[in-house]
Amino acid sequence: MNAQFLIQLLVNGLVVGTLYGVVAMSFVLIYKATQVVNFAQGELLLVGAWVCWALLVKFQLPFWIGMPLTLVFMFVFGIAIQVVILRPMIGEPIISVIMVTIGLSTVFQAALKWIFGVNPQPFPDVFTSKSIDIFGLQIQTVYIMSLVVSLAMMVGMAWFFRASKYGLAMRATAFNQQVAQSLGISVKTVFAISWAISATVSAVAGVVVAVVNGVSSGLSAYGIKVFPAAILGGLDSIGGAVLGGVIIGLLENIAQYVDSQFLHWGNLYEIAPFYVLIIILMIKPYGLFGTRDIERI
């Protein structure tokens, strides 16, 4: 009984963890390319999920039209944020930039509550929800869908950075902006594209979570969980972010297991990632794969 519960939780952790990984990946993408720590990452998930919900429910579009429309919208939305808000902030101190994104997250959070209300909304059934039996475990198909989508996005991202022209331009920019510029890369475009991709990927994650749990402002909590994940993996490592996300997801569920079986403290599940975060900052602030800052004077 207990063992089965544990395995169930681990599967759950893996699914949630890959989603954290995807969001952390898009967070790190922005950080690496533009040196902006995006506190509005969770709100990007939320915007994506609500837009998709509105297209499917209010406008009664089928999923195969609604979803691409959402992605197109988020692509444009990401570019718009970068161009309108963050481009004028280039060259400002890093704390100003951080505070701008905090301001953005406040605005999005409140605006979405204003437009869509505070009540959680169920997502229309995109897939017929069934559970299938794998090795004696009941696993819902939405979970498998979520896992597959997350993995697909990770593979897509890996391909993008390794093979595509823009991916290479982005890596060059992350390495050294001036050198990249001198090689004819438009740094402006790279910045805009990185926001656009990050927003789009986050929106996919947002829709996936929404399909499983419904849409509510609680979705933006994923944006906060990104920090433990990204710090664990190292702030500037995309692979590290994915791994960090998976570890944090598993850790949350192990904490829940320990809590419910032995400790009975309640809610350990929500707070455990933050303790981990503090511990990592104390012992290994650059994470598992992050590059250590070495400054030359």
């Binding site: 720590v37 808000i85 004028p88 902030m89 400002e92 101190p93 890093i94 704390i95 100003s96 951080i98 505070m99 701008v100 905090i102 301001g103 953005l104 997250s105 406040t106 605005v107 959070q109 409140a110 605006a111 509550k113 204003w114 906060i224 920090f227 433990p228 710090i231 702030l235 403290w265 809610n267 929500e270 707070i271 933050f274 303790y275 975060l277 503090i278 900052l281 104390m282 602030p285 800052d293 400054e295 004077i297």
Partner: protein, 357 residues
């Protein structure tokens, strides 16, 4: 230079003492004294409503002042300030309820305890740069709030904790009118302390760290010590303000002290001007008065077309949050030095009037 009565239309300072003086002219000192004297009559002059608004401005401005030491003078960010504020509130309530310590002493004690807690979170933070510190304080916010909801002996858990009214040596102060003086005294002392801190060696060390931490380190400034110190100071003032708030409200609950409140504290110093002491007060007044004025506007628009279009009454809380967020962004983009900068420009305009060009 305190001998001149007006600001001279040029820079005539010849000594460091003149450079760091609090009041550059006699007139400015007299105005400050007159202003404080006038504020002493405020409880008699103000209505209940304005009195409570000004008490709130006073309390929050102390917390914002602490945050400004950290953000404005040391160049670190904290988004866990609301949790420290709340910690001070709970500590003061707990101490004055459970020990025979009058509230008068419980408030500074709460400040000290909060500073110690701040240092616990500040120690990992001191090794880290701004970016990592933000994330550490984010964790502090969640961990502390989680602690409050667990520790029933300390904070009452889900039930709000009650706090004693302010008392000194058996004499209890009753009502807003008397409490106003307590807040006024704390505001004056805190602002004077911080103004003087910035004139000392330690204050200059903090500013040096903000401007270029590597150069500061090379000049022999102990980065870890000063970063931790400024973190502790920020938590100290947050704790004092929280304690004042607890004994003003007489109940302390976690409600409304999430991350949004921390953002609000950041908004205060951004709007006022990071690194400006008087700006902190202006920014706090702005942030406290903004929702009040929005409420007032929505009351006057009741029944009009705008009201119907936006359904103001039901959505005022969201509109308020949107306004706060937009104002933070707008100030950072267009007026990064805040209201204090605007004020300096007005002053320098009049300094040379009518030959300002």
């Amino acid at each position: 230079m305190a001998s001149t009565s007006f600001i001279p239309s040029g820079d005539f300072r010849t000594s460091y003492a003149a450079d760091t003086t609090i009041f550059p002219t006699r007139t400015s000192r007299n105005f400050a004294i007159a202003g404080i004297a006038l504020l002493c009559f405020a409880p008699q002059l103000f209505s209940e409503y304005w009195l409570s608004v000004s008490i709130q401005i006073g309390i929050f401005s102390i917390a914002a002042l602490g945050l400004n030491i950290l953000v404005g003078f040391t160049g670190q960010i904290s988004i866990g300030h609301a949790a420290f504020f709340l910690f001070g509130a709970f500590t003061s309530a707990y101490v004055s309820n459970n020990f025979p310590i009058p509230v008068f002493f419980a408030i500074p004690l709460a400040g000290v305890v909060t500073a110690l807690v701040g240092l616990i979170f500040g120690v990992p933070a001191a090794r880290l740069k701004g970016l990592y510190l933000v994330i550490a304080t984010l964790a502090a916010q969640y961990i502390l709030l989680d602690f409050f909801s667990r520790a029933e002996w300390f904070s009452g858990g889900s039930v709000p904790a009650s706090a004693n009214p302010f008392s000194i040596f058996g004499y209890a102060l009753r009502g807003d009118r008397q409490y106003f003086y307590v807040v006024l005294a704390y505001v004056l002392v805190s602002y004077l302390l911080v103004t003087n801190l910035m004139r000392t060696r330690d204050g200059r060390a903090l500013v040096a760290i903000r401007d270029h931490y590597l150069s500061a380190e090379i000049m022999g400034i102990n980065l870890t010590k000063y970063r931790t110190l400024s973190f502790g100071l920020a938590a100290f003032f947050a704790g004092i303000a929280g304690a004042l708030y607890a004994h003003y409200q007489l109940v302390v609950s976690q409600e409304g002290f999430g991350i949004e409140r921390s953002v609000l504290f950041l908004a205060m110093i951004i709007i006022g001007g990071t690194g400006s002491i008087m700006g902190t007060l202006m920014g706090t007044a702005f942030v406290v008065l903004l929702p009040e004025s929005m409420e007032w506007i929505s009351l006057h628009l009741k029944g009009s077309a705008i009201d119907h279009a936006l359904s103001l009454n039901t959505n005022i809380t969201f509109l308020r949050e949107i306004a706060i967020g937009l104002i933070i962004i707008a100030f950072l983009m267009f007026e990064p030095d805040g209201l204090a900068h605007r004020w300096r420009q007005i002053k320098s305009y009049w300094k040379l009037y009518p030959f300002s060009h």
